[in-house]
């Protein structure tokens, strides 16, 4: 029973982190399915985190400036509205950042890897700037009120979470976890069950074929990259609002974006696999806090996700399975052959 308890606590504790990963990964899968390898996820998630926090913070300040103060002495802000605002701000900022990436790689046809790395640097910079600007302006500390923090990380099914074993596992999470699962399933259904999804996959496999079939390659690439970036950015916001405690600190995202890129490979570009994959990665990431073996340094724990990814990568390339491969034109820009 003790082991089971440990495992349940581990699973539950892993979920906030896993949610950020899941959103980051799902967004990147959508993007990569169009053949765009966006290495700027870290930057996009950074931007999403900073702007999501900024949005919620600005909302709360506006409420407080309007004089609505609750009995507890905190601003009478609504948790629901704050969450919606944070999601919209994160999505919009991430989508705009991805739009820059799209313009540079799809329209101007610059190298995707270089552009992605540049976007990471750019996004980290913008995120840091926004976060630090808010912090300095607030006199050294920017944070939401306690009841908003609670709204962002509380479980939404309340009493259901008290059911033994399955309760905490199924119903014990914050709203973003369920949102992320819904998004992952929706993206999966879109890719596999709709004509637009088929067309998008065709663009990622062979843009020339898609083009000759009358599919607008540019439009699909732009849409997938922009929406995917927006979804990834929500993941960044979730990280800042839950794991990082809804405050801005200097650490920022500490590599969640990179982990998402790795997770895309781990999931073999399947959003459904991202659901349990991110839970696994989330558990691996926080294992050093929960299952402590004194002789093993925490650094060893922290490299586990990357070790797993490497093993999966090697195994999948050795297996030579035609289905479980990256989209064929991933990382390549499309030039319509002019003869």
């Amino acid at each position: 029973m003790n082991i089971l308890n440990t495992l349940i606590t581990l699973a539950v504790a892993a979920i906030p982190f896993a949610t950020a990963l899941m959103l980051g990964t799902t967004g990147e899968i959508l993007c990569e399915k169009s053949g765009n390898l966006n290495l700027g996820v870290e930057g996009i998630m950074y931007i999403g985190g900073a702007f999501g926090l900024a949005g919620a913070f600005a909302y709360e300040k506006a409420i407080s400036a309007a004089g609505h103060i609750a009995a507890s002495g905190e601003p009478a802000s609504s948790g629901f509205i704050a969450i919606v605002i944070a999601i919209i701000c994160a999505f919009a900022s991430g989508a705009i950042a991805s739009l820059i990436y799209s313009f540079i790689t799809i329209t101007l046809r610059a190298n995707q890897n270089v552009t992605g790395l540049a976007l990471t640097i750019f996004g980290t910079g913008i995120g840091q700037f926004t976060g630090e600007y808010m912090r300095v302006k607030q006199g050294g500390f920017v944070s939401l009120s306690n009841h908003l923090k609670h709204a962002f990380s509380t479980n939404i099914f309340g009493p259901l979470a008290k059911i033994p074993v399955i309760g905490p596992i199924l119903f014990g999470h914050n709203v973003f976890f369920y949102l992320a699962v819904i998004i992952a399933i929706t993206i999966y259904l879109f890719l596999m069950k709709t004509r637009k999804g088929l067309h998008l996959r065709a663009v990622g496999e062979s843009p020339a074929t898609a083009d000759s079939a009358g599919i607008n390659v540019t439009r699909y690439k732009y849409a997938a990259t922009t929406i995917g970036g927006g979804i990834s950015a929500i993941g960044g916001m979730v990280y800042i609002m839950t794991t990082a405690g809804a405050t801005w600190n200097h650490e920022g995202l500490s590599g969640v974006g990179w982990l998402s890129v790795a997770l895309v490979i781990f999931c073999i570009w399947n959003p459904l696999k991202a659901i349990w994959g991110s839970a696994l990665f989330g558990a691996l990431m926080i294992m050093y806090l929960r299952i402590v073996v004194s002789s093993v340094p925490t650094e060893i724990y922290k490299i586990l996700p990357y070790v797993v990814t490497t093993i999966v990568l090697v195994a999948s390339s050795m297996r030579n399975n035609k289905e479980k491969q990256p989209p064929k034109s991933l990382g390549r820009n499309y030039f319509r052959e002019e003869r």
């Binding site: 596999m192 069950k193 709709t194 004509r195 637009k196 999804g197 088929l198 067309h199 996959r201 065709a202 496999e205 062979s206 020339a208 074929t209 898609a210 000759s212 079939a213 009358g214 599919i215 030579n320 035609k322 289905e323 491969q325 064929k328 003869r339």
Partner: protein, 521 residues
């Protein structure tokens, strides 16, 4: 003829810079008829058809569909007018099923794959295609992929089908099946154009033949009222002999014997499986097989470019000497004094350096020669002389020997390559798809060069794809099927069907019965 043509071209001219690809071409395509478009390489067949299918626009002239003048600005326009073209290079997505590929680009909303499967099946039943809509493209043979391309066009509702050299990659049996399907379509009142340069197919399949020569329209004739000879003369512009001279070399001796040769590719997939044969000096040994059956690996193993797993390759310059070639690099083979010449499939990648001139390319073979060894400088005179010789003897169309090889046409590039390889007086001459993409005249020049080499006592190995040519040119034909020798036949008595069967899996079962020992000394 009073009937309105499905498509009529009048005075079509198309220029690319200073080159006129089509010059005042008139053409009529009728419903319920198969038209062959015949012409040498570079005669403008594909360009002309690309104008009908919306890839290019003509500079002059008009295109009419069912009597109405139209302008076709894009492939989409062409589809609207019911014109579908099946290109030589298939545009398919490997990880999709047949049905997914066929339905790609149609509609939006939910993807009802069962409905698509049903529609595909309908088209298949109507014309006699045999394809499983659920099969993934990466599991398909070339002929199946071609089938998908044709169904794709029919699915879009095409009334006129244009096929660009559809038989180039098919076995005779597959070709026969394709022809049956095309005849079914003709009976369904569709207009069909087939671009080809294989005369036997023209005669067998088409109702009419239109001939282009150097971009100019020559004539359209009824197939039943013409002969291959007449067609060739019109195509080339003067009378040519269509027979390949095949003299018999007296006293042929074994030159190269391969025993149980096996090899793998970089991914570890077995490419050759216990291949055994003997190549005789004074003989052309043809190698037939579906593309990718191990032809390339076989030649590369012999020439020392590909690692051998097991087996032996023994060179026997005379009865008492045996030199094992396994494990030797091309340089070592050369040092051992074995004249091994190799005309690879990839002319500009493996054979020649495109950005060098003829002389420079000759030097690739000669720069290490003993005469050069003593001097620190390279000897440029000898290769220059050789380049000049080849230029004159083979009639390479280039302003001079210092013309960059890359800028030459395919035929001339091949002349340079074959010329250089033969000039080293080889004992073994390995050639892969030596006439691919060449016009009739150049092809015959190349055939004659190989025959000449054979009569010099060289063992010539000729990997080819055109079975008619293999049967006429070679002395014996070795058939490869999935890396195994499925038979070695006498080219003077074998038939196309026999080789075709050996090329496919069904040939493997045949092997045990009729062609028992595949050794063939």
């Amino acid at each position: 003829m009073t009937e309105t043509p499905a498509i009529e071209l009048k005075g079509i001219t198309k220029r690319f810079g200073s080159v006129t690809a089509n010059d005042n071409v008139n053409l009529q395509i009728f419903k319920g008829k198969i038209l062959s478009l015949l012409g040498e390489n570079g005669s403008g067949k594909t360009t002309l058809m690309n104008m009908i299918s919306g890839i290019y626009q003509p500079d002059e002239g008009t295109i009419s569909i069912n009597g109405k003048q139209v302008s076709i600005l894009s492939p989409k326009d062409a589809y609207r007018y019911g014109i579908g073209m099946i290109h030589q290079h298939y545009k398919l997505i490997d990880v999709f099923t047949a049905a997914e590929n066929i339905t790609l680009g149609h509609g939006s909303g939910r993807l009802d794959i069962e409905e698509t499967n049903r529609k595909v099946k309908e088209i298949c039943d109507k014309y006699g295609f045999k394809i499983d809509p659920r099969k993934k493209v990466y599991d398909m043979s070339v002929s199946e992929k071609q089938t998908i391309e044709i169904i794709k066009v029919l699915y879009k509702g095409a009334e006129t089908l244009i096929l660009d050299e559809p038989t180039a990659v098919l076995t005779p049996q597959e070709t026969e099946r394709l022809f049956d399907i095309l005849r079914n379509m003709r009976n369904d009142n569709k207009a069909i154009v087939i671009i080809t340069h294989k005369l036997s197919e023209v005669m067998e399949l088409s109702d009419n033949v239109a001939i282009l020569r150097k971009g100019k329209y020559i004539a359209t004739v009824e197939t039943s009222k013409t002969s291959p000879k007449e067609l060739t003369d019109m195509m080339v512009g003067y009378s040519v002999s269509l027979n390949i001279n095949r003299p018999k070399y007296i006293g042929a001796k074994p030159k190269l014997s391969v025993r149980f040769l096996s090899c793998r590719d970089a991914e570890g997939v077995k490419k050759l499986n216990k291949v055994s044969f003997t190549a005789m000096g004074g003989e052309i040994l043809g190698i037939a097989g579906i593309a990718g059956s191990g032809q390339k690996e076989l030649l590369e193993c012999i020439s020392g470019l590909h690692p051998v797993d097991s087996g032996e390759i023994v060179f026997t310059p005379d009865e008492n000497t045996r030199i094992d070639l396994v494990g030797k690099s091309p340089t070592e083979i050369r040092k051992a004094g074995i004249g091994m010449a190799f005309v690879p499939e990839d002319r500009l990648g493996m054979g020649l350096v495109g950005s060098m001139d003829m002389t420079g390319n000759m030097m690739l073979r000669s720069w290490k020669d003993s005469k050069n060894r003593k001097s620190p400088f390279i000897d440029k005179k000898t290769p220059e002389k050789l380049a000049k010789e080849i230029w004159e003897k083979l009639g390479v169309v280039a302003p001079s020997t210092s013309f960059l090889v890359r800028k030459m046409s395919g035929g001339n590039i091949q002349k340079v390559l074959v010329g250089r390889e033969i000039a080293q007086k080889p004992s073994v001459l390995l050639t892969a798809y030596a006439v691919r993409g060449l016009d009739i005249n150049t092809s015959y020049t190349i055939y004659n060069l190989f025959t000449e080499e054979k009569m010099n006592g060289t063992a010539v190995i000729y990997v080819g794809e055109d079975l008619d040519v293999l049967l006429e040119l070679c002395d014996r034909i070795l058939v490869l099927c999935a890396g195994q020798v499925s038979g070695i036949v006498d080219a003077r008595t074998a038939t196309k069907d026999q080789i075709g069967l050996l090329m496919t899996k069904s040939g493997r079962e045949l092997k045990s019965e009729s062609i028992a020992p595949a050794g063939g000394r």
